[in-house]
C-alpha cells in the first residue's frame, strides 16, 4: 500500500513570476512577456519536478497601463498552453476561461482541442467574471450573481455534453473497411438554456482521458454549487490551515450533495514560497523584489494591525508602544500572521518581505522551511495538494524543483515520477465522457 502523497500544480503567469517586479529581477529577460520560448522552458522545469499541472489564471482586460509593473497574466492562456503542449509530455495544462463572455461552443472546442493535442492533459478552470472593466471590453455590463452563475451552469453543461458528443468508441478510422466514424455514436446535444444553447455535435474525438478536467476557483455558496457538480479540482485561496480544512470539507460535502464521490474532487491550497540559503537571504530576496512596492503598502499594513503607520518607519521595527497597541484586523485573514511576524521584532520592510500582504501563505527561509510548511498543511488535512506561485520563474522554479521536491520525496510525501500520462491520472480522478450521469 502506498502512502497518500500530495499533488503539486504550478501557477504560470506573465513570463516573469508572481512578484510584481519580477520582470526586472537579475537574470530575467525583460521581453519574456511576449517570449514563448521562456514560457515553454518554465513549463519544462515544472515537468522535471513532476508537477501534476500548470495553472494559468486569466483576466480579459488590463486594469491600468502597466507603467512600472508588468501585467500579471499571459497574452492568452489557451494559445500559451497550445505552445507549451508542444514542448512538454506529461504535465497537465489548465487554463482559466470565463463562462460569462465566451460562447460554450467556442470554449468546448478550444479546450477539447488542447486536450487532444496534448494527449489528455487539458483542464478548464471555469470561472464567472464580475469585473465591469472586462464587461466593457465586450460592450456589456455585469449581470447579477445569480444570473452569472446560472449561465455558468448552462455553459459547463453544454461544454461537457459537446465533449461527449463523440462517444468513447465513435472514431473507427479503419482504413481497410473504409469506416471513418460510427455515426450512431456521434449525436447532436440539443441543449437549450436560458442564457446559452447549442446543437452540436462537436467534430472532435475523445482524448486519452476522455475530455478536459473541470477546475473551479470561486468561493461562496455559488462557487461551491458549481464545484460540487462539475469540478474535479478546486483552486483554493486560504491563509490558515483551519480555513483550508474548512474549505476542503465544504468542497467535498458539495460533491456528496451532488451525488458524487468526495474523493473525485481535489482541493489545492495556494503557497508562494521565498526560498534561499537562509531566512535572512530569503527575506533579502523579497526585499529586492518589493523595493518599489513596499512604501505604498505601509499604510495598509498599519490597518491590518490597527495602527497608523507611515513610510518613514519602513526600515525600523514597531516600537514597544506600537506592539502593545497592535490588534489583528478582523477584516483581513492575513492579519494574524502579520501580527505574529511583527511581534518577532522585524522591521516593517522585513514584515512585508514575509509576504504578509501577498496573495498566498509565504514560507520564508530554506527549501526545508517550505517543505515543512507543505507537510504541515498536508498532514493536517488542509489540502490534497498545492498550487505553487513562484516569485521569479527564471531561477525560482529550478530552486523549488531541485531543492524542495527532493526533500518531499525523501519524506515520502511526493511521488518520484508520474504514475500515468493524463491529467486525470495525475489527479487520481476517473475518465469522463460527456455530462456526469449521476447529476440530476
Amino acid at each position: 500500500m502506498s502512502k497518500r502523497t500530495m499533488i503539486l500544480g504550478m501557477q504560470l503567469g506573465n513570463g516573469y513570476g508572481s512578484q510584481p517586479m519580477a520582470w526586472k529581477a537579475p537574470g530575467v529577460d525583460a521581453a519574456n512577456y511576449a517570449n514563448f520560448d521562456a514560457h515553454v522552458r518554465y513549463a519544462q522545469a515544472a515537468e522535471r519536478g513532476k508537477f501534476a499541472f500548470l495553472f494559468l489564471p486569466d483576466f480579459a482586460g488590463m486594469s491600468k497601463a502597466p507603467e512600472q509593473e508588468a501585467p500579471m497574466l499571459t497574452l492568452d492562456p489557451l494559445m500559451t498552453l497550445a505552445a507549451i503542449a508542444r514542448g512538454t509530455e506529461r504535465i497537465g495544462l489548465v487554463a482559466t476561461g470565463s463562462t460569462t463572455f465566451n460562447e460554450p461552443y467556442n470554449t468546448a472546442r478550444q479546450f477539447k482541442t488542447l486536450d487532444v493535442m496534448s494527449h489528455g492533459r487539458a483542464g478548464w478552470n471555469a470561472v464567472t467574471t464580475s469585473d465591469p472593466l472586462v464587461a466593457a471590453n465586450y460592450g456589456q455590463e455585469i449581470d447579477a450573481r445569480p444570473e452569472r452563475y446560472e449561465r455558468a451552469h448552462e455553459t459547463i453543461q453544454i461544454a461537457q455534453a459537446l465533449w461527449g458528443s463523440w462517444e468513447k468508441d465513435a472514431w473507427i478510422k479503419d482504413q481497410q473497411t473504409g469506416q471513418f466514424a460510427d455515426p450512431d455514436k456521434i449525436q447532436p446535444i440539443n441543449l437549450q438554456g436560458r442564457h446559452v444553447a447549442s446543437r452540436g455535435p462537436l467534430p472532435i474525438p475523445p482524448s486519452e482521458q476522455g475530455q478536459p478536467v473541470v477546475f473551479q476557483a470561486g468561493g461562496g455558496d455559488y462557487g461551491l454549487g458549481l464545484a460540487g457538480r462539475y469540478a474535479n479540482a478546486v483552486i483554493g485561496a486560504t491563509f490558515t490551515i483551519e480555513d483550508a480544512k474548512a474549505q476542503r470539507n465544504a468542497v467535498r460535502k458539495a460533491a456528496v450533495d451532488a451525488g458524487r464521490d468526495p474523493d473525485e474532487i481535489k482541493y489545492f491550497a495556494g503557497v508562494m514560497p521565498a526560498i534561499a540559503g537562509s531566512k535572512r537571504e530569503a527575506l533579502d530576496r523579497r526585499v529586492a523584489l518589493g523595493r518599489e512596492v513596499f512604501p505604498a503598502r505601509v499604510p495598509y499594513l498599519g490597518a491590518m494591525l490597527g495602527l497608523s503607520l507611515d513610510v518613514s518607519q519602513l526600515n525600523q521595527p514597531l516600537t514597544g508602544e506600537q506592539l502593545e497597541a497592535a490588534r489583528p484586523s478582523p477584516f483581513d485573514p492575513r492579519s494574524q500572521r502579520a501580527y505574529e511576524v511583527a511581534q518577532e521584532g522585524w522591521s516593517i520592510r522585513d514584515i512585508l518581505a514575509h509576504g504578509v500582504i501577498d496573495y498566498h501563505p509565504t514560507p520564508v527561509g530554506t527549501a526545508e522551511d517550505t517543505a515543512d510548511h507543505l507537510q504541515e498543511w498536508f498532514e493536517a488535512g488542509a489540502a490534497d495538494g498545492f498550487w505553487v506561485s513562484i516569485d521569479v520563474y527564471e531561477d525560482g522554479i529550478d530552486t523549488f524543483v531541485d531543492e524542495v521536491v527532493p526533500i518531499l520525496q525523501e519524506r515520502g510525501l511526493y511521488h518520484s515520477d508520474y504514475e500515468g500520462t493524463t491529467l486525470r491520472d495525475h489527479l487520481g480522478v476517473p475518465e469522463q465522457y460527456g455530462q456526469d450521469p449521476r447529476l440530476g
Copy 2:
C-alpha cells in the same frame, strides 16, 4: 531590378489532404486528424518550399457524421497554428475566423497572441457565417446578409483598433529605469457599433509586423467592400483565367475606392494539382483517391454536360451521340472544362479524375504541367499568387516542394528564399498599427 514573382500559400485542413478519401491513402496514418505532429511536419515541408503562408479554413460545425469521409478541417485553426508556430520559423500562419459568432475582443486577443508568439507571422481570414447549422451551435439564427456584413465591418474595425491599442513604441521594458510601458501610448479604444463594442486596451504589445494581416475570402459586393477596406490578401475562388482576372481587378478597384493602394492587396487563385510521373499516373492517383465518391458524382457530371448519365457507364467514355448532344451548363463555371475533357475521349471515371467537379482548377500530369498552369495564370495577370490544395499531404507536399518549386525557381517565377521574416514581408504589404488612417 528583380522580376515580380508569384507568392504561394498552402491550404492545411484535416491532417490528411484535400481529397475526401485522403485519410486512407497509402502511407497515411489514419489518426492524423488528431495528430499535431503530422500537422507540424506538413507545415515544415511547406516552409522548406518557401511558401508565404499556411491557410486554414474553418467551419464551426459538422454537417454530417463522418461515416466514410473525414471532416475536412482541423480541430481548431488557432490552436493548430499555435502548435505550428512552435515548429516553424518563417512561414505565415493564416486562420479563418468568423465575425458572426465571435466576440471582437476574443478574436483580437487570440490572433494578436498568435502574431506575437510567431514573431509577426499571423493572418486573420475574416469571414461571415451564413450556415444555419453553425448558428444552431451557438443557439442562434442567421441574420440577413446586410446585418452580417455590418457586424463584420464593426468586428474588424474593433479588432484592428485593439491591435493598435499599444502603439508601436509603447513597450519600454527598461530594467534600468524601471519603466515597463509608456502609459501615454496605451489607450482604450472605446468603439461602439450597432452589433458589437469594446473598450480596450488589449494588453498585448505589437509584433514584429505590427499586427496580423487581414485576409478576405467571400465574393460579391459585400465581400468586395470588406476586402477593399481591410484586406491585404484575398483568397479567391475561380475556374478560369478570365474570371480570376476579373476578380483580381475588382478587388484592386475596391481597394482604390476605399482610398488605398491596389498593390497592398494580393489576390490568390486556387489550384489543386494532381502530380505524378505522367498524365496517366496522375489520373490513376486521383482515381484511387476518388473510387468511393466517383459513382455518386456521375449524375452531377451529366447535369454539367446537359446529359443524363448513370453509373453503369463509369468506365466508358461518352458515346459519339452523347458527345454531340453535350452542352456545357451555364449554371456551373466548371462545365466548360468538363466539356473539353469529355471531348478528348476520356472515360467518365477519368473525366472525374481530371478534377472537373473539384473545388479548384486541377492541372493533371507531371510537375512541369502544374508549373505551366501556374505560369500561364500568373503571366496572364490572373493572380498575384496561388493557394495550393494538396490531394494527400503525406507525400503530396513533398512532391510539390521538391518537383514544382524548382521548376518555378528556374523559370524566375518564384523566390529562392524568404526575403524577410514576417507575413507582411512575404506578401509585400506594409506594417500596420491599429486601423488604417486612410479609411473614412
